[in-house]
Subunit: 397 residues, 2 copies
């Protein structure tokens, strides 16, 4: 039985690069960028008008001119125009190209338009005001987004702006989720008194959908020969196999033995933690096998504390800082294990993250998961954790 | 021009309930639950063994018995068995039903199995240990998930456990996103010097996909008659219309006038804020129209500070606390406007959320969006904001 930090180290050493693929930008949400996005031209690409109004030559205003005959109108999207006489002005629209011969924009609110002439009412006019100059944000070739970024709507917008209609992203692993155990029936079935519904597979599936991974699912009965026969095929076909249940010390928990027989090397089995102690992890060539405990809360914790960070590393997601939360009440926990306690997160006016323990009945209570939104990690080697102490939180919502 | 709080109030008054629909649980991720989920039976549904080992009658142990002949094995998923003699034991597997006649489980690690007999080595055995009793988490009929919850993987697991293969969720609005402006070209086109690519539509689309909303898109040129003709049809067909651009004071910004002509009542136009001042909001019957500024950063801010909270209210999402962050450096901002400053969020060991301003060139710089992950809301009526002061943050990642 190993410690939490050792398990994390082993997982990290076994992060696999699943490669790179090119996809349409439209499908990019949530995917991981694997190329650098650079400005394809200057931003803005031209001296851009930022207010609707008139464009003038500031020199004329400085020399005392307040009345400017209007030469014409410049719409956004029109090619560049020229102010032919510096005693005149052009009406200009937000987003338009600043005309040659003009350098300053005065907004409609500060002028009066009358009979083809604009009269300036503003008391103060700043040279070059209301113009966003070419290249002042970024120059052509500047790096805008580094690789490793998970694409959210802002990045999608930037990619669109620079014309990346197709993007390179991390390929996603071909994934199979397997439930095990004769006590399981499907969600739409009525379980007998000694049966329960197979919820872990549903939960894991939706977690993976979040990454854009579409998964296959399968079920294995507690029958050794069948397990061997099917697992053999699965190991050839998939990059990633997630097993739910079958890894405790029970007589019918055949999985560790079956996996060994098939050449899957056990990298660890059992972590000094609650919940999630019987977690098993192994590897055969480039296929990784996560065998999570059948208990739903244990499985949930292992998914969020181990599997997701591992997958993030495989997909080359850039690292972010770890949120730390403050306990709002004392917690005591005797066993010499790392204790992942379910908490409800809130925020206070002092910019702090607060963690309130969810009352429940230990690791078996799936219903607690929906009352909380994070696990707080209370370290091994301590048995009381005081109100006001601060520990890492893993937020799952 | 109204204040931020007034705009929020008007939006809140115009939240629409788009109704309820029933969908398969598999498609439930990210959707909003509109029914209460109750326990369909007790949890656990039977006295559940929580360790692999042997089940005994505690009374026998208390009377000094340490050696228990093994009567048989109880697998998880097997119907309930009975311990026929209280001097014997049954081997039991995690997840199995506790046999009648037994009340305590001793794990394999604490016994020696030899020639059909189990010998207890543990120094301490607690009455009823390693049994998770029927109904101790929840009783049949107990409320587990309230309506208004956004379904994440934990809730999907609970729904699966109680047999909800179909669930009632908020219906999503039929949505159209319209770009406007003759300066726009498509993402895969090469823009002329006076043109830019239409990135806002992409960005809005991906934001809405996050809710599970699939949207239609359209483009309107700066032609009044065409705008009137097309908008008329759109207003009949959609619940929600998002327009990008065309709402400033420019000569070709026909939208406010066109919308008025078509009977869309303007509820506000312009907010005392930067970025995003020209934001327009209106309504015709049960169709809502959001006309956002064409500037990408303005549009992004309006989406996150106004549109998303409004949509959350429409979909009946339960409210959560607002994160507050601490500024890590002084900021000064003169105009009498609410200032939404782009910041990068980090977390410190004191459980605080920290906000570092992203250096940039004002509201036009889309590239800043990707360097930050939140907007911090610096209130109107102040022009310096000191390091250490705390303000609400709207995290967009």
């Amino acid at each position: 039985m190993i410690k939490v930090q050792e398990a994390l180290k082993i997982l990290s050493k076994n992060a696999i690069d699943f490669g790179i693929e090119e996809i349409p930008l439209k499908n990019g949400m949530g995917r991981v960028l694997r190329e650098k996005i650079v400005a394809d031209r200057d931003f803005p690409p031209y001296d851009r008008v930022t207010m609707d109004g008139i464009a003038i030559d500031y020199g004329s205003f400085e020399n005392g001119t307040l009345k400017f005959p209007v030469e014409g109108i410049v719409a956004a999207g029109a090619p560049k125009m020229t102010l032919s006489d510096n005693r005149n002005c052009l009406e200009v629209m937000t987003g338009a190209i600043m005309p040659d011969g003009a350098d300053t924009v005065i907004k409609y609110e500060d002028i009066t338009l009358d009979d083809g002439e604009a009269i300036i009412n503003a008391e103060k006019v700043r040279h070059q005001q209301n113009v966003h100059f070419k290249g002042s944000d970024r120059s052509a070739g500047d790096l805008i987004i580094t690789d490793g970024r998970v694409l959210s709507s802002g990045e999608i917008g930037v990619c669109a702006t620079v014309g990346k209609s197709r993007i390179k992203v991390s390929r996603l692993p071909k994934t199979l989720i397997i439930s095990t155990g004769d006590e399981l029936v499907d969600v739409d079935q009525e379980p007998l008194p000694h049966q329960i519904r197979r919820s872990n597979v549903y939960r894991l599936e939706t977690t993976l959908h979040h990454y854009g991974i579409s998964v296959d699912t399968a079920h294995l009965d507690d029958d050794y020969d069948q397990i061997i026969e099917k697992l053999k095929l699965y190991l050839e076909k998939y990059d990633l196999i997630l097993l739910s249940g079958g890894v405790s010390k029970g007589k019918f928990d055949y999985l560790p033995q079956a996996l060994e027989e098939l050449g899957v090397k056990q990298l660890f089995h059992k972590i000094q933690q609650r919940p999630g102690k019987p977690f098993w992890f192994g590897r055969k060539d480039d296929t990784l096998v996560f065998a999570m405990p059948g208990n739903p809360v244990s499985s949930f914790l292992c998914t969020h504390r181990y599997f997701k960070p591992w997958l993030d590393q495989c997909l080359k997601i850039e690292e972010v800082t770890q949120p730390i939360a403050e306990l709002v009440e004392d917690v005591s926990f005797r066993p010499d294990l790392t204790y992942f306690l379910e908490v409800k997160i809130s925020y206070d006016a002092s910019a702090r993250i607060l963690a309130s323990p969810v009352k429940g009945n230990g690791s078996g209570d799936l219903a607690n998961l929906v009352d909380g939104d994070a696990f707080i990690e209370l370290p091994q080697g301590k048995d009381t954790f005081k109100k006001g102490e601060r520990y890492p939180v893993y937020i799952y919502r």
